[in-house]
Symmetry: none
Subunit: 319 residues, 2 copies
């Protein structure tokens, strides 16, 4: 298993007061990373505050540690840790940012802007893998909740160990998690297959809207505002919805458009190797990585379709 | 990683001519185990024949080694290996069984009857895990196809690392597989998530029709004849469609009605422990078992709904 650099471990060793920040709309990897790191630091008698975009998806609301989220916010910290967050603008942060000696960025996104005073960015399956390695480096003892937290980060960001971001280390870490707690079946079901009725209906609506663009291997799904409201809001659009297009045989690139308000969309892009869609996200001021990216969009959907088709055609020529 | 006993390794070392048998309707674990073991033994200059129940599911037809299945059958072998096969009656075997010095049983099913001259039965995630450990013990070099074969066995029999049969060793082995071949994303997709566009649209239509009966934990989905025809016929209704109701939080019983002709339905029932729906199937002349049953139906759907609600209410009272 790859080692964490000493300067990163020392940043935790040599400081006392930490604030943990995540990206907006935190997913399983963000929350899992926060819970594991927060509990680990507390075990080392550090003080930890969390400032996190709530509410969370139902499936993530099972960690005891969540009770400490957004409880207090000091004027200053030794270290503000940005977890799983590729840019500072994508971070969910207080209107008035507390002072800090060090801004520390811990992330696994290739597109990370290295916006911290100290940055540890490695292209791994999940930020939670890096957090696990940090806590091992700090000789923290894992309890079952911390094991669940790391597992949650890994299994959600790797699509249950299926995506191309899985490495030797991903499974080595999972193996060590099974030495801490022997059964993650219930947690896996909770995170991957169970949906409430609104989430299920939203998934059906997304499939209903699935369109293949111009005979190309590009799928587009649009959840309009009315549908989103009908089924309880964007909180009920589960992570796997964007992948449904990708699961269709022949599709290489998928765009899921969520109309969060009239004419305003949150777009999730997915691509299969060798296609790289993160430049489209950057063009529209978003972020992400080669195979999964996102951005806000309020323009002409036909323009977005053209962008997708151009990316496909240009990259198809290269390969 | 747990070691394989010497007597098992010696049975491979000290013999030359092997026949590999699997269970009837071989699944991913059976086929993956056969391909990995067969190729590994050939690398050690053993001769290997396969006698296997064909055809295979489409998703499994990608190993080069499959061309050697059922090619020849000798009158006698040194060893007949029964892989992933809990009893000899469940094995797919020649009408006249060839002679053999040793019948060797390699399996991971708790129910295994130890019907061999030599038996190695361990409760692991997959028989392919045991095969991997045997080949390591025999110091076989893994090529990418053998890595794919072991991965196929593990990922199909553990539900992509989600079931309660996953152990420390499951992930240790997966980790070693990633050292042989760096990316199993394409294979994972092939085995777990890919649907053609008609299968995907059929799934969407089923979810669209999903109805919760009278505030009870009973879900009903109806695919009408027009929809079934539109999306290419019942062949495109994938096995997982009936489970979609069951994946809805709060649902204990699901009925999927497929209108195979005007007013004529094929009904699939699913139940979660402790509910037993097979009596409804029997009432309508069908069959199955407690948690999964089916029957043909051409009556009033409201009557079927009442049956489902009665079963739930009567059994709910019992529990």
């Amino acid at each position: 298993m790859k080692k964490i650099p000493d300067e990163i471990l020392n940043c935790f060793h040599n400081n006392q007061r930490f604030l943990i920040l995540l990206h907006q709309k935190p997913d399983g990897d963000a929350i899992g990373s926060a819970v594991a790191l927060g509990k680990g630091l507390k075990q080392l008698n550090k003080t930890v505050d969390y400032y996190i975009d709530l509410p969370l998806e139902d499936k993530l609301v099972f960690f005891d540690e969540i009770q400490y989220f957004n409880q207090s916010l000091q004027d200053s910290y030794d270290v503000i840790v940005f977890l799983d967050c590729s840019s500072s603008s994508f971070a969910y942060s207080p209107a008035e940012m507390p002072a800090a000696k060090t801004k520390l960025v811990i992330d696994h996104h290739k597109s990370n802007a290295h916006y911290g005073d100290l940055n540890f960015v490695e292209i791994t399956g999940a930020t939670a893998e890096i957090v696990f390695r940090i806590l091992k480096g700090l000789q923290v003892e894992f309890d079952e909740e911390m094991a669940d937290a790391v597992f949650t980060g890994i299994t959600t960001d790797t699509g249950s160990f299926q995506f191309s971001n899985v490495t030797v280390d991903t499974h080595l870490i999972a193996s060590e998690l099974y030495a801490i707690k022997t059964n993650y079946a219930h947690l896996s079901k909770r995170l991957h297959t169970q949906k409430n009725i609104d989430q299920m209906k939203m998934t059906g609506a997304a499939i209903h809207s699935l369109e293949i663009l111009d005979s190309m291997p590009i799928a587009m799904m649009i959840l309009d505002h009315e549908t989103i409201i009908k089924f309880g809001g964007t909180i009920n659009i589960t992570d796997d919805v964007a992948n449904l297009g990708q699961n269709t045989i022949g599709v290489s690139i998928t765009a899921l458009l969520k109309e969060i308000d009239g004419g305003e969309y949150r777009v999730s892009l997915r691509a299969k190797f060798p296609y790289d869609i993160h430049e489209i996200a950057l063009k529209y001021g978003g972020g992400g990585h080669e195979r999964a990216a996102g951005f806000n969009f309020s323009g002409d959907i036909n323009e977005l379709k053209r962008d997708l088709m151009e990316v496909y055609e240009s990259q198809n020529g290269e390969n």
